[in-house]
Amino acid sequence: MKNIGKLLLAITLIAGLMIPAFAESITIKGSTTVYPIAQATAEKFMDMYPEVRISVQGGGSGFGIAAIIDGTTDIGDASRPIKDKEIKKALNKGADPKAHVVALDGIAVVVNPSNSVSALTKQQIKDIYTGKISNWSGAGGSGGQIVVISRDSSSGTFETFNKLALDKEKVRPDALLQASNQAVATTVAKTPGAIGYVGLGYLTSKVKGVDVNGVEPTKDTVRSGEYPLARPLFMYTNGPAKGVVKKYLDFVTSSEGQRLAEKEGYVGLK
């Protein structure tokens, strides 16, 4: 019993010693679409400045912006612009969210590789997601039930898709909701009749990206603005970025940072 008492004392002391030791640190939270860019650039940034500690979390665009408003993060990732409602909430709480565009992204509409459909119009996509078309034969396919996969409402990809492709109409209520880009891609890859949408970076050989209005989802068509489902990606800060956060954001938008974003499958700004 005595020994255990000593052990506990030792452990408490060690824990106590750990308390203050503030290195420069950055916390990043939010969009799972922006996550790979944040993670890859954070890694490189810490190679360059080993004294800086960066922690990267997911959670979704809504979560990222809420964290900026609540002051629980340094950078809030979002794959959509801030909403009026959120601006109002920020004003009430005395926060001042500032947007920084860090890359461009296209939302690729994906189907299972076994699907014969390889092009859809925006109208067809809208009809599929709102429930007007429920069989692939109605969208130029060889028949079979369409399994509609969408994202939860905290997702910025959902918000953007909802605005750009569905003109803010409601997704059919029986659509399967997934919590991340990768989860959508995995489900579509496993389900023959499935349709989903993911950020361009998540377009792999396991799913097939369809042409939208005759335009293939590629980096070039996103950058040129031809691809209709394209969007900028944001990192938000509370007020103008300062100090090490500014240094990091400058790095993300530098040619080296943009090269990393491209490597993760996104579209660079330049």
């Binding site: 506990l8 750990m18 030791a21 979390q57 997911g58 990768q182």
Partner: protein, 282 residues
């Protein structure tokens, strides 16, 4: 004759059920090991994730899990043991004590994600600890508290009444009796309970999602107010985020293997302690 036959059938049936249980355990260990062992190397255990989570190791997650477990046990062990001692040795037998006992048992049945939300509301927000080792360890500590209390209670109740009576007969006070005559023989049982809860704390994801965990961080935490990577959450992150699912999956299985080995060896330690105690008592 018929009795013997039906007894044989009954026993073989029970044995079959046992085999099925073992089969499940074996399958889990086999698949995780087969898929995960390839990823294991010295670098895997000692490095941070690299190249957008496609290579490098899981050292920060291992260390993070270690800190969370340590914190949770430091918090819940003294508290749990004290509660158990009070309930077994001091408390008057009244209906209030019964209510307390029932509450503790109910606490054990609360889903872990509820503890996670509780930790978010109380430790992260109300006390302002933020997403940190401290918040996560306290949340996990509260989660395993009932388990530690009931294990300690069982161990204390298993100490023969004659030990206490002998100690009182020698003129010892109740506190002295507990310290010298009750706790020492109960200690192995108590420790077994604590070690088993270490296994549970190490493997839980839900309580730390909102209170302690981060998807990516390099190096080791520098204070108890740091967020940490943790093994179970790292597996979740690798399977749901990031743009390289194929490479990430391999690392996720490696991570699962490390976690499995960690939990199994902790349980093994508990078995060894229990065996020793049996030999001592028997």
């Amino acid at each position: 004759m018929r009795k013997i036959v039906s007894q044989r059938i009954g026993f073989s049936f029970l044995f079959l059920l046992l085999l099925i249980t073992l089969l499940f355990l074996g399958t889990i260990i086999y698949f995780i090991a087969a898929k995960g062992v390839g990823a294991i190397s010295w670098q895997f255990l000692t490095q941070s994730p690299k190249n957008a989570m496609t290579s490098g190791g899981v050292a920060p997650a291992i260390v993070g899990t270690f800190y969370l477990v340590l914190g949770a046990i430091v918090f819940s062990f003294p508290l749990g043991l004290a509660s158990a001692i009070y309930l077994c040795e001091y408390s008057p037998k009244s209906y209030i004590i019964n209510i307390i006992r029932i509450s503790i048992n109910n606490l054990a049945g609360v889903p872990s994600v509820v503890f996670g939300l509780f930790g978010l509301a109380v430790f992260v927000k109300f006390f302002g600890f933020g997403v940190s080792i401290l918040s996560g360890a306290l949340t996990l500590g509260i989660m395993v508290l009932p388990q530690i209390i009931s294990a300690s209670q069982e161990a204390l109740l298993a100490v023969p009444q004659s030990y206490r009576e002998a100690s009182f007969a020698l003129g010892a006070t109740p506190w002295k009796t507990i310290k010298k005559a009750v706790i020492p023989p109960a200690l192995p049982g108590i420790l077994t309970g604590v070690i088993l809860s270490v296994g549970r704390v190490a493997g839980e994801t839900a309580p730390i999602i909102f209170t302690a965990a981060t998807l990516y961080k390099r190096g080791y935490p520098n204070s108890i107010f740091s967020e940490v990577m943790a093994l179970p959450y790292h597996i979740y992150g690798l399977m749901t985020e990031g743009t390289h699912p194929v490479q990430q999956k391999e690392i996720a299985y490696g991570c699962a293997f490390v976690l499995l080995i960690l939990v199994l060896s902790v349980s093994f330690l508990a078995i060894v302690i229990r065996q020793r105690q049996r030999r001592k008592n028997g």
